[in-house]
Symmetry: C2
Subunit: 192 residues, 2 copies
Amino acid sequence: MEAEIKSIPFYLLIDLVNGSISKYTKKIEVRLSDMKPYFYDINALNEKIEKEGNYVIYEYYENSLDRIKGLNFGITIIHPGSIGKEYHFTRGHFHLNKEADEIYIGIKGKGLVLLDNGKGEFYSYLLERGTIIYIPGDFAHRTINIGDEDLVYFYIYPSDAGHDYESIQRRGFKKLVLKINNKFTLVDNPRY
Amino acid sequence: MEAEIKSIPFYLLIDLVNGSISKYTKKIEVRLSDMKPYFYDINALNEKIEKEGNYVIYEYYENSLDRIKGLNFGITIIHPGSIGKEYHFTRGHFHLNKEADEIYIGIKGKGLVLLDNGKGEFYSYLLERGTIIYIPGDFAHRTINIGDEDLVYFYIYPSDAGHDYESIQRRGFKKLVLKINNKFTLVDNPRY
């Protein structure tokens, strides 16, 4: 059955200081236990859950429309913290549709975006208030909170992008982002 | 010849207070003379040019990439003012690709967005700092500066949207937005 295509304009509000939005069609919370396939130090992760409970690492508030094509958008909030030496990050994914690009706009906090096309090209960009990052559809992308407060950013991508998390679960990104002497450092990912 | 597809991530900066961006691939200035097919009171427009010169009504700074699919984005600045009783506005257009939706984010100033699908459905939304407007691809859209300062907003749409200005030149939007007693008022467009 074909999805019904809504063709009704709508509006919502975004607070351009803290990123909160006035409506969304889904809210997703990603907790420590959801991140087991992604963090390098699985023992540190399990210890965290035992000691601090299964807390939310990041959450996103999205407007996904009932349109086959169209634009999905929302905000992501990554809370500060680390698991072992790794800072809190998003799972990261490839788009199934390699032509589906994505754009980020930093609203608050300090982050790093990793971009990896799986074929040797790897980039990292700082993401702060007012940074716009253009992510070509063939690059896996992950965001890392390297600061001491919530990292908040706006994202937008074509509704037909699709998501591939499995490739990331298998080997992660080319680099790990570690907190060493209270600074972020990129090191080669041994599993890659 | 097929367009070369660049697949290199990039970043730029946006000032989230005034909307200025640090780089763009094109800057377009739209002047009084370019707007002759769009304003209702052509005599008022011609008089303006004679008295005040052929000034810029609005300008936009865009990042259009060499990608067949992808996302184009930028900011539009509409300067305050009026031509006859009509406030300054953008030409407005339909997308040729009716599946190509668009999103606006208000940064500064006070505006109105008109949405018209040409088949009887018409909407108008206030556009101010922090307003996000979702424009389905089958709706023509025009933005009007109904305030006393620059209206600045961020826009983003799929690169394969295409633009149809001719339909708007022929009959405009269902409503005109007039400045009456220093307030905006929507009235039926007699040419529509």
